[in-house]
Symmetry: C2
Subunit: 502 residues, 2 copies
């Protein structure tokens, strides 16, 4: 058995190395690649991804997994080896169900669709992307149908990024959440929005970046095993557990941009950096689902980074960094500015209260498209109608409507959005548990100390990588299934303090 396990690990390590190279090719494309490199780069990434996929779906891997099945069942469920075999088997079964030809057709189409979108978006040209979206929807359905026996056609697609989650259960959680959020957003946005002009002075980019880096260093982001570079769209990527990188962008007249994207991506990175080093090079060395991943980026960005306690410590430092811009601005004014709530059209710019309304609109539209109750040609109007009913806003064009997010244009329709809101919900559930275990955490944060919180997260969440599904992890950590209560309490408390909510 030892020998078979070793052979499996050797094969998985080779696949891991190929995927690490793909991640580097992608990081470089977004950071330093000269324009002339674009054509070959797309092909190189496609070649290496294909090789990695081919090496994974071979019958040899299946046979090894078969021979190891009984062995693994006799090991403790959460042991490294049992988890490796269990998670690899699930992934193998999923990967072998989609015929390679369909997968190629999908990737090829996604790349073409993305290209068309990059031109259609600035031109407000939904007509240009419509046939591509129609084909994307068709291919997404075909992929879903490779997994017969689902309750809802979106289930297999949701399962790809949030394993174990289903349309029905997510829908129930979201309905519950919307019921609470809509009146909360209403009560706040009927008041005069906070003055956030202090965030829009001229802030020299280098100082902005240095400040963000100093904060995440305090968080515990390990620059020995990571770095930060500049890109157009911030992201986190990993080449090995010893090399986890984040990117950001900076806008001279918007202090939010670099700082909060840095805290956000650092949260993702600290999750990966906290995975047990024994798992490096295996499929377990990865955050377990898009929702759990997002829970960590949002926890460090919002629950910590936009809290009053955090700024008690950091605001004087920020004032020292930018004395002419902030020297005369009260801490309370600044705190209200970074937590300004307003109904808006763009998801990525949205505040904590309205953000999930944006996500849920997209989730519902995805389901309707997959179900066939909504046609692609009617999508722009359906989008506008939902923004009208949920946020009371009418977008002037599709640029700020259905053309705004990349997800459907470079990937599947289905499974793309639920993780954002699941992550927000989980962030509060996890944070509450951490504070329950270590009541000094809020006081620590007021002193710029994060090791107790970071240590608890490492111990309870990060170290496991993807040994446990999101649902298993939530059960282990909170003692029950996912509930929105801690999140709603968090929002009500925080924004009740900021706004008159009677």
């Amino acid at each position: 058995m030892e020998q078979k396990l070793q052979e499996l690990k050797t094969r998985l390590l080779e696949i891991n190395d190929l995927n690490g190279a793909v991640a580097l090719l992608n990081w470089d494309q977004s950071t330093y690649m000269p324009p002339g490199g674009a054509a070959a780069r797309g092909r190189q990434m496609a070649t290496l991804s294909r090789l990695a996929h081919e090496k994974f779906i071979t019958p040899e891997v299946g046979n090894l997994l078969d021979s190891l099945q009984t062995y693994s069942e006799n090991l403790p469920y959460d042991s490294d080896d049992a988890s490796l075999i269990r998670v690899t088997r699930r992934s193998y079964e999923k990967s072998t169900k989609v015929p390679p030809a369909l997968l190629s057709a999908f990737y090829e189409h996604a790349a073409a669709s993305y290209q068309v979108w990059t031109e259609a978006r600035p031109n407000n040209d939904f007509a240009a992307v419509q046939p591509y979206l129609e084909k994307t929807l068709d291919l997404s359905r075909q992929i879903a149908n490779c997994y017969p026996g689902y309750d809802h056609i979106a289930d297999p697609l949701i399962d790809m990024s949030d394993e174990g989650m289903k349309a029905e259960s997510v829908r129930a959680v979201f309905a519950n959440l919307r019921e609470q959020l809509v009146p909360l957003a209403q009560a706040i946005t009927s008041q005069t929005p906070a003055d956030n002009s202090c965030l829009h002075e001229a802030y020299p980019p280098d100082e902005q970046l240095a400040f963000g880096r100093a904060v995440i260093k305090d968080y515990g982001f390990d620059f020995h095993r990571g770095r930060q570079d500049m890109t157009h769209h911030p992201f986190m990527t990993k080449f090995a557990l010893g090399d986890v990188r984040i990117t950001t962008r900076v806008k001279e007249t918007d202090l939010n941009e670099a700082l909060f994207s840095t805290l956000h991506e650092a949260g993702h990175a600290m999750y990966e950096l906290g995975i047990n080093m024994n798992l490096d090079g295996t499929p377990l060395a990865e955050g377990t689902s898009s929702g759990v991943h997002e829970s960590q980026s949002r926890l460090w960005e919002n629950l910590v980074g936009r809290s009053r306690g955090f700024w008690k410590y950091y605001y004087p430092k920020l004032q020292q960094t930018f004395p002419t811009q902030l020297g005369g601005v009260e801490m309370d004014t600044f705190y209200r500015a970074i937590n300004r709530v307003e109904r808006s059209l763009i998801r990525t710019d949205a505040d904590e209260v309205t953000y999930n309304l944006h996500v849920m609109i997209r989730f519902d539209l995805e389901l309707a498209l997959l179900e066939g109750t909504l046609a692609i040609k009617d999508l722009p109007e359906a989008w506008h109608a939902r923004y009208q009913s949920d946020l009371g806003l009418q977008a002037p064009s599709d640029v700020n409507g259905v053309l705004q997010d990349v997800h459907w244009y470079g990937g599947m329709i289905g499974g793309a959005f639920q993780g954002y809101t699941l992550g927000n919900i989980m962030s509060a559930a996890f944070f509450d548990k951490a504070v329950e275990a270590h009541p000094q955490i809020p006081t620590d944060i007021e002193q710029g100390k994060f090791e107790t919180l970071h240590g608890w997260l490492r111990e309870n969440i990060y170290q496991h990588g993807s040994k446990f599904t999101a649902n298993e992890l939530i059960e282990r950590v909170t003692g029950g299934p996912l509930t929105i209560d801690p999140y709603i309490t968090y929002l009500r408390t925080k924004f009740g303090d900021l706004y008159d909510l009677s």
Copy 2:
């Protein structure tokens, strides 16, 4: 046949993509990788290199080449397809002769040896590397012996980087060259060396780098298809013909460092960037030998970049960039400083006159080691003896002796050095031919114009990639075999003007 050719190209493209990824992994390791990434990075590069090698040496590739043999013989020798088949076949035959186990053993040993050297060098500890070098010599001999029928045991190793060159012919050329160089160096170094203190003022790094970049932009280095980053050891690398990068390092108190390494690496890069785009993704899309490659780096670094004409145009600009440091320094003083000749211990710091003496010492020692007439344990003394006889210098230790160059410690003994001097010799032969075709080139250079020279090099050398071996190319370009005359004439003329050589 079309179909078989297409299948060959598809296989070669996949290998090309793997090698491109290896090059990026390597570039990143030297530029941006955080220290924590090192362990996995070495493994990732090894995995992808192995996959590329395995995919190349399969019998399928051999069979395709066999079936295409007759077809290719009926095509014009220099056509893309005939060249592709011919060059791929030569490379295939070479690659399949070394058993994979020997190759793995060699790479594994080279990596270990390199590690030991990085520590042994600062400690002047030849004893630490001696057993590693002994094994390296043994493995190098084993590899050479995979190619029976050679005239000299070094021939197969020389052939790996300078295809078609042999120990005997290189030895003859070098003997000829040494005969001319030793008295020339003697005559110059018996005079007072030029005052180069003007190069050692404080030069702000950013301005140094900007100046170098401006010059190579004038040369025709295409920043749309390339970029420059910082590393400890400057190098050129390529991920595709549309993405060719160089690196440099900068020293505040040495104006030589960044500027001339930039011109040097830009020469390598312009060679690659000048290859016909039709060859991209094939084994032909690469400079043809280490000697020809070096001829281009040295041509742009020395024959152009250290010439009086070049500085007629650029020196006023350099003075404008550094007015306090150079405002009061005459152009002639500066020109003498950058062309200062002196007997020195370190190859990489050597001037144009003495540089080849360093190379030839190493070449001769390599041959003696491979022949068995010199033992590794006697290498340090043999090194010192040759520096004494050829350069009249005694190194205080092995740090500035046999431990100085990485080549033998991270690679083979044999074939590592001859390309440097072959390149110098070729640089003058090629440059002469360019000026013969376009007599205005020297005047162009005095005006910062390089397109005629660059165009001639592209047309006659660059575009062909590795369609022709070095010897074939020299024959095509100069109408005869390699001769040292143009190079000797160049050195005599240039340094005759600078020094009193009667």
